[in-house]
């Protein structure tokens, strides 16, 4: 893997911090009086990737792709049905409660909705103090308050905000409180689930800048989940594209945008509205709707909407394989500008 030391502003090492192997998270669908399981929502259906220490791995996908569920399973907020997640060598899925508590100190999550992810009846000081208390980070309340003030200043708030309730803050400020809470336990790995989707553009800019600064300052590793392709390009070193519960492509962020290998990745990039009125493309749009993870098509999941689908695509599901420094799950090599298949992927 290449080292992106300066462009995104962070230093990436070669050490693996998180390793996910064939993760599957299925939710049973129950029906009938006796609640029999008649099927499953296969939210995450076999995902394998790793995250290097110090990097930001972006996960993009649309609704139904499973990216949020995958993020939650790393924090063990949902129970996977199979697969392995290794964090610093510990298998999160099989860890005991006390082991998991130790893991929780190192892995934290920033949530999507700044309005709802804080207990409306807690003041900021109480929120931060509780985080520290749960993990025994401080020995006394006085120490905790000192640390709380420091945390607030780190995220761009100040001491006077300590005794206020969440509803007295703006969206961007609440998100900063959420970040402060996550940092209160001194984590090394942050899972960020759409942290700026609910924020205005200018606020988003300052929160993203903050996240980058924090990464540099504390040597954090980020798993950045979002549907906003421009944001993920700005923040990440590598990007993984998810579709219907599987990763279809992982590559360096520039490769994803300027040289996508998977047809779905290509369509995603085509669909992004660009903040430049002169760059008018003749867009080839993706037809149809984002599918539901209840009825997954056989073979390659993308084949019903793919322009290049062949018989092989309808029968065989492609695996994630290395190609030119990226990982792609597609049977063919496709030249998108010419609009045709130019080769078969090596088995």
């Amino acid at each position: 893997m290449k080292l992106h030391a300066t462009y995104a502003g962070n230093r990436v090492s070669n050490e693996e911090l998180l390793k996910v192997k064939d993760l599957k998270v299925w939710f049973p669908i129950k029906s009938g009086v006796i609640q029999r399981t008649i099927g499953h929502v296969k939210a995450v259906d076999g995902v394998t990737f790793n995250v290097l220490k110090g990097e930001t791995l972006g996960i993009v996908g649309e609704s139904g792709s499973g990216k949020t569920t995958m993020g939650k399973s790393i924090l063990r907020l949902v129970k996977p049905i199979s697969g392995e997640i290794y964090f610093e060598g510990i298998n999160i899925i099989k860890a005991s409660r006390s082991e998991m508590k130790k893991v929780r100190r190192r892995v934290q999550m920033i949530f999507q909705d700044p309005y709802a992810s804080l207990d409306p009846r807690q003041t900021v000081s109480s929120i931060l103090y509780e985080a520290m208390k749960i993990h025994g980070v401080v020995k006394s309340k006085a120490e905790a308050m000192e640390k709380a003030v420091q945390l607030l200043e780190t995220v761009g708030l100040s001491e006077e905000h300590l005794y206020r309730f969440p509803h007295e803050f703006s969206g961007g400020q609440r998100q900063r409180i959420g970040i402060a809470r996550a940092l209160a336990v001194n984590p090394t790995f942050l899972v960020l689930d759409e942290p700026t989707s609910f924020l205005d553009v200018s606020v988003q800019a300052s929160v993203l800048n903050l996240l980058k600064d924090l990464q540099r300052q504390f040597g954090l590793t980020y798993l950045f989940i979002t549907h906003n392709l421009a944001v993920v390009h700005h923040m990440s070193n590598r990007v993984a594209v998810m579709y219907l519960g599987k990763i279809v492509e992982i590559a360096d962020k520039d490769d994803i945008y300027h040289d996508p290998k998977h047809p779905y990745t290509f369509q995603l990039m085509e669909a992004i509205p660009l903040p430049d009125p002169d760059v008018k493309k003749e867009r080839v749009l993706l037809e149809g709707d984002v599918p539901s993870p209840i009825n997954i098509p056989p073979g390659c999941r993308f084949h019903p909407r793919c322009k290049y689908a062949t018989q092989k695509c309808r029968r065989e599901e492609p695996q994630l394989m290395a190609r030119n420094g990226c990982l792609v799950a597609c049977h063919y090599e496709i030249d998108f500008s010419a609009g045709k298949i130019v080769g078969e992927a090596a088995a």
Partner: protein, 318 residues
Amino acid sequence: MSQQVKARKGEWEARLADIKYSLYLLRKNPLVIAGTVIAAFFIILALLANVIVDPKLAYPEGYPGGMYPFERKYVWNANHFLQWGPGVALYKGPEFFPLGTDSYGRDLLKMIILAIPVDLYFATIITITAAALGTFIGAVAGYAGGIVDEIVLRITDVFFAFPALVLALVFASILGRSLETLALAIVLVWWPPYTRLMRGQVLSEKEKPYVEALKALGASNLRILFRHIIPNAIFPILVQATMDFGGVILTFSALMFLGFSPSPAIPELGNLAADGYGHIFDAPWVILFPGLTMLIISLAFNLVGDGLRDVLDPRLRR
């Protein structure tokens, strides 16, 4: 928000500001003010009742002893604005009874004043106990889910199958005839609605993002339930308890009325009303005024509860 910065010194100051805001909202609602005033009046009356009126008046000469210590003698009202039907004999004595007397010759007004603290006291105890019990069971059931939830639901279903009063009668006849056992009977009947209410609240709070965030933080289930979910879900319970206050008084009185009172001399609104049951047409005041008092107290607390509900509705607040 940043333009109104006014640093707060501590946690309590923040909470106080929150309460001040609630009171501000309450002030805006005229019904709530009316209800609060009336309720406050009754509460003060209850506290001072034993001072205003000599409690021994409830038990005229000859009492401690048997169940029916004194003769019945009907004394008509000397207030000539209230003329009742044929056969009325006016009492030609020196005293003036503003509300008339009951069948034992006691001044009805004084009896009602003595009865108010009894009713309010028991209603408070019953409401708080039932609410606390129901809330606890409901919260645990809602949060735990699964089989615990199912069992609790079925138990409450059984309770709901019976009309409250009938069930209370059954419990009362099992438990015996004292004011305390009556209160217990009512508590046993009154807790299921709170359970259902709390369970529903907990079920919806459980799904909220902040609970997930707390789990991600590593908070234990106990902490999440008692320190976070219950405080957030408690408001409908408070509203319901306030509104139920009137209903509890009525139920308690009803039980006394129906014959479960340990002694007919006890000053209690239902008890007083029971006295006049047989004489609704010739001495209607005996049943009318205690009933009216119950009505007004109920209404007052109902209004307060209603206003509280409007104020505490989270959509209007935040």
